[in-house]
Symmetry: C2
Subunit: 578 residues, 2 copies
């Protein structure tokens, strides 16, 4: 078996290289990527994913094609104000079942709008349009003022389908009736077709993505979900877990998969190869760990002064249960001994145009520590890894910046130096606020490993209309996390600029400090003052404290850095009060 797999990595490289040569010059992709990142286009959206989502839903609706050309002459007003349906034309279906078909049918009384046209209506100024199935709706009046409106706002200018697939509670008869009243047109069925793929491109094998993932870049694919989704579930569903790719997604087959291990420095057997089956045969270990991009919340830091990097919101993080073999077991099997000066280098099967793989490294001490919980993971939330998350094997380095959690893992080297990859040496490092591109010296700075404490308000979202409850409070929810296994011990919220702080309720695993790798979700009720009710506006701040009693810095000004990483200042969200 080992003979058969011997040259797998080389074969992969050749294949990938052929693809690159077919479509790109041989310049370093890291440079290309940086160029791409420089062309930040905040607010830009790409609708390929959403179109795909709509197509899927249209497909689901195909069983009801008999209604496709159904003419339903109804006035909007009727629908909005009448809760007893008088419009259902098919007696065999009850009121709700009928309502559930409306968005799957073309309304011949209304015009057809392209996805592109819809996408232009995504703000209060342009009007807020959304699509649901084949329907196009102008929800400008509805969205800001009604229950469920906040969730609809997440889809402004695009499809609501993927949101409602998650937030089933908003998909009620009342809301469907309300929505149909706002219908202004139809999507052309043509546009619901899957995006055309380019063959013979390194990008030709990219996986399909969930419509909820909002891309910050398409090639390589990088995307985050709307953050309101994040505080809904303690374990982030795989389908909209943020994706951070640095290169095209490689295509690996478990039956061909081979992990090469090499001990370049220190004690231990010099070489070993493990097949996928051999890794799965090792004792299986599970750990809940949040993975966070080093650039999470960069878009907030950018407001102080521009930085280079993908303009992530606060959604470049997710929390999952990861399962696989423990790296410490594998290294012990090789006879590797503790050594303070050694590193473990990981290489992925994702290759740049010069056939260099994505690479990163961690200290050997972390890799060997049983409490470090480093995994050769093949499962994410009890499912096989998806291609975007490293199928069939990735390394999970709990508590450590996402960039070291190398996906499509093909090679592990125990060495007396860090990875010499671009991403370890010249990226993912912190600098003083006064360091600029003329003075920066990457060699002088520490590669980010353990991440600092942070938190985010997921709900309400910025500018969301929030109802003040009978007691004069609003409810906020979000996440908090710290690296290095440090448990979140407190999240403080304020609705009066820090004059009074309110301690949030935490949802977290009962795990000991130093090994608490999952995030904490939090909920807090915050008082609204008479003045705030009058101005209909309030700004909420969140700050978290970890088990080392480290706290978030207050503002971005003094933690600003030219790469926009480590953006962990207080999260501040202005909302409107109803």
């Amino acid at each position: 078996m080992r003979l058969r797999l011997l040259s797998q990595a080389n074969r992969l490289r050749l294949l990938q290289r052929q693809r690159w040569l077919a479509t790109t010059s041989s310049t370093n992709l890291a440079q290309q990527q940086q160029q791409g990142e420089r062309n930040e286009s905040r607010g830009k959206r790409d609708y390929n994913g959403l179109v795909y989502g709509a197509a899927t839903l249209a497909g689901i609706g195909a069983g009801f094609l008999l209604f496709n050309e159904l003419d339903k002459p109804r006035s909007s007003n009727n629908i909005i104000t009448t809760s007893t349906a008088t419009v259902a034309p098919v007696p065999a279906l009850d009121e709700e079942a009928t309502a559930r078909l409306w968005h799957t049918t073309k309304r011949n009384d209304l015009p057809v709008y392209s996805v592109d046209e819809v996408s232009k209506h995504n703000t209060a100024e342009t009007g807020i349009w959304i699509t649901y199935g084949l329907g196009v709706y102008d929800v400008s009046e509805f969205a800001p003022n009604h229950p469920g409106g906040d969730k609809i706002m997440m889809a402004a200018g695009s499809a609501i389908d993927p949101f409602w697939a998650i937030f089933q509670q908003h998909n009620t008869l009342e809301v469907l009736q309300l929505l149909e009243g706002f219908r202004i047109g139809n999507l052309p069925q043509l546009e619901a077709a899957p995006v055309e793929v380019e063959h013979d491109s390194p990008w030709s094998q990219e996986p399909k993505r969930h419509a909820l993932l909002k891309p910050t870049s398409e090639r390589p694919f990088n995307a985050e979900p709307p953050i309101a989704m994040l505080s809904e579930k303690f374990l982030t569903p795989n389908e909209y877990f943020y994706v951070r790719n640095h290169l095209p997604v490689p295509t690996l087959q478990p039956e061909d998969y081979e992990l090469e291990l090499e001990v370049e420095a220190g004690e231990g057997q010099k070489k070993l190869k493990l097949s996928f089956a051999e890794i799965k045969a090792l004792p299986k270990h599970s750990v809940t760990a949040a993975i966070m991009c080093g650039g999470n919340r960069r878009s907030e830091m950018t407001k102080v002064k521009p930085v280079k990097g993908l303009s992530w919101g606060a959604g470049a993080v997710g929390n999952a249960k990861w399962s696989g073999a423990r790296l410490c077991d594998v290294l012990r099997q090789l006879g590797v001994q503790p050594h303070e000066q050694l590193h473990v280098i990981f290489e992925g099967a994702d290759l740049d145009p010069t056939s260099h793989p994505y690479g990163a490294s961690i200290p050997l001490s972390k890799a060997l520590d049983p409490r470090g919980d480093v995994l050769l993971a093949y499962e994410m939330n009890d499912q096989p890894l998806s291609r975007d998350h490293g199928f069939p094997i990735r390394v999970i380095v709990p508590g450590t910046v996402g960039a070291r959690n190398v996906k499509w893992l093909t090679r592990i080297i125990v060495a007396d130096h860090e990875s010499d990859s671009h991403w370890q040496q010249n990226d993912y490092k912190g600098f003083s606020p006064s360091t600029d591109w003329d003075t920066v010296d990457f060699s002088k700075s520490l590669a980010i490993q353990s991440m600092p404490v942070t938190s985010a308000i997921c709900s309400p979202m910025p500018e969301e209309h929030v109802k003040v409850d009978g007691d004069g409070f609003i409810t906020a929810r979000g996440y908090a996390w710290s690296g290095g296994g440090r448990r979140i011990v407190r999240v403080d919220l304020t609705s009066d600029g820090g004059k009074t702080w309110h301690v949030a309720e935490l949802e977290q695993e009962d795990l000991p400090d130093g090994r608490h790798y999952g995030w904490s979700l939090w909920t807090a009720r915050l008082p609204i003052s008479a003045e705030q009710r009058q101005t209909q506006s309030v700004e909420l701040w969140a700050k978290a404290v970890d088990s080392a009693y480290n706290v978030q810095p207050e503002a971005f000004e003094h933690i600003w850095n030219l790469r926009g990483v480590l953006a962990n200042a207080y999260h501040k969200v202005k909302v409107k009060l109803v």
Copy 2:
């Protein structure tokens, strides 16, 4: 041998209890101490230690008693302006040797002032008096404007002797001549006698302390050195390493010493006793570790709103090389196995009036981790521990708040719960800024273990007169440290309120992250603007970054807590420019 030592802990308790009963009611000392801490008297000084220092120096001067009644009729002006000495009355001694005797002689032309009277002159308003040997000097004119003046200011209202014993470079002919010119009187020789001790009191056995230690409380003894001393040496000299005692200092003899170990929960041999000799016979291990009080820099936090606790400056920290047996070796010898739910409880020989010992605990995971470097230490900077620092054995828990580094260690228990001591349960915990004494619930908060990142500017000191150099810069020095073995990776300084930041040069050990327990000293040159030169004033800020890229919070307002612990905001120091 074990038989002989069997009841040592009990004997100690009996002895201590007898002492308490002799002088105090049997109320809980922790309460007394809190009461004491409530009576914060900022700026209050106790001169016992300094008198002792002066007495020592007077003793050294005794060899020159032939000069004791020497009359030296000199005008101040002569001394200040004449560098060729015309005043030396003894031809056999050269100019400098003569000058070195002046402060040891009584000047019959000048009055005698009590130590108490001198102590009232310690500010610009009252005039600044100091003593040196038998001399009393009014340095109000001198101190703020001359080289060496900053070091003299540390002794305002008290004796300069202990400072000059350290800062030998200031003890020059020029300065001595200058100083004698400011002489206004003599100390009564009577006052140079050692403080009378009360026998039969629990405090009767307190050790002598170095004059440089400025007490924040006398009973129990708590004291810190002037922080300008701290940045002078990478390893803080034992004699002025800050002292944090919670109870009277016990008197232990190595030949009677016995450490009881007990495994209450989990696997392992149930009981073991180790003599001092047996601990010294174990493999010796050394680690450089800074120990910091949980209340270090509390006096800065207090300015936002009062807190309860000793009013520490930034000197409740020191860095030393500790040597002893590794706790992990001892626990392994007992057969203790890793277990995430267990704790290691430490008890000291220092007892409260109810005979309860000082106690604290740490997680078993820290105690068992070879990288945790927890020591049963018997040496501090290659010297046997002093009594104030835990003679003959204390536990050193590197990276962990001082309170867990239990001194005079007599008992170790592996248990399924934390220490139930006051100091673990109802002290040394962090809270939200809005938690007050009416709402506080200590049981809901995490006992501090690993400390957050912090830094301090040691030099210049607040209000110090600093000379701007020819290039328009001033130099600042200080320390930075983070708990949990996290290395300091950067210290940023600003002299313009954060508009520009300057990265300091670091002096630190070359140790790997996660095991970097010593502090870092830093030096930075900071530009002074034309406007600052004109106003002769500048405020310096320091902030440190650790290897998890945690940063200090900017201000105390939002990290304020009712116990005044974890005071790690930016250190800000206003200085005067010359």
